[in-house]
């Protein structure tokens, strides 16, 4: 397997202004679709399950993850290669999602969100009886 390449964290520019100061980053995501569902996997290191907010309304999926500072006040920086902050990302979904069956898991800083599609109305044949 190839060696992993360094990727700088992408800073996000939310359309809505934040009330709390601090930086906001875009989590890297994988999104794939099968016949039954859409799965979204997002890397959100530092986010614990109770600090993750997933919201789906009117085809817009919003992910917000808060990161608690891991450094205590008496620590001084020696080397700083990455910054920490909130995670924010929004997607527009083209499919109708079955809201009741959404499943989200957060493990080791990786979110796996499963969005099942609503079963399409099956075409019904109407037979005409000769009268």
């Amino acid at each position: 397997m190839a060696d992993i390449q360094v990727k700088e964290k992408q800073e996000s520019t939310p359309s809505v202004e934040q009330t709390t100061p601090g930086r906001t980053f875009m989590p890297a995501v994988d999104i794939f679709e099968t016949e039954r569902d859409i799965t979204l996997i997002a890397d959100m290191p530092g986010v614990s399950p109770d600090h993750l907010d997933i919201d789906l309304r009117e085809n817009t999926l919003t992910l917000v993850g808060d990161v608690a500072a891991s450094e205590s006040a008496d620590e001084a920086d020696v080397l700083r290669e990455y910054e920490t902050g909130k995670y924010f990302r929004q997607f527009t979904l083209s499919e109708v999602i079955d809201q009741g069956k959404i499943d989200a898991k957060l493990n080791d800083g990786v979110l796996r969100l499963s969005l099942p599609k609503v079963e399409k109305a099956k075409p019904r044949k109407i037979s005409v009886q000769p009268g």
Partner: protein, 152 residues
């Protein structure tokens, strides 16, 4: 004298006058950051994972963002004052009929060596993983700790 030290003596071997301008710009940036009390930005080493190192009186702490990795996927060792972190980030295979819309997450092997500014007590180094963040706590060696000297 100060001016001379900040900008150095002129270098006559330039490739283009713009090189010199770039150098000047970088130095001005460093100067303004130092004056405003910000941490001087250090260029990343370009090796995965990116790390942050902090220190307090007794410890160095090395942190890295490694989402999806658990303790078993990591190999950490210390020799003298160099810390080596290596491992592999695996991304599970999905169903055959999965069609990708986006694929931004990366997988692969990595290994990185971090040189610490001072000696550490290799016996007492501890590492933990929490929510995809690795924290290595390295106690400073007795000789490297600051010592209060009483004036008599």
């Amino acid at each position: 004298m100060i001016v001379r030290r900040m900008f150095n003596t002129p270098n006559w071997g330039w490739r283009s006058p713009f090189d010199e301008l770039e150098l000047l710009r970088n130095r001005m940036n460093t100067l303004s950051r130092t004056l405003s009390g910000e941490t001087p930005f250090q260029r990343s080493a370009g090796v995965f994972p990116l790390i942050n190192v902090t220190e307090d009186k007794d410890y160095y702490r090395v942190r890295a963002e490694l989402p999806g990795l658990s303790a078993e996927d990591l190999d950490i060792s210390i020799t003298g004052n160099s810390l080596a972190v290596s491992g592999e980030r695996k991304i599970s295979e999905e169903a055959k009929d999965a069609k990708y819309h986006r694929r931004e997450r990366e997988s692969g092997k990595f290994s990185r060596m971090i040189e610490l500014p001072d000696h550490v007590d290799g016996e007492k180094v501890e590492a933990k993983m929490a929510n995809g963040i690795l924290t290595v706590v390295l106690p400073k060696a007795e000789a490297a700790k600051p010592r209060q000297i009483k004036v008599k």
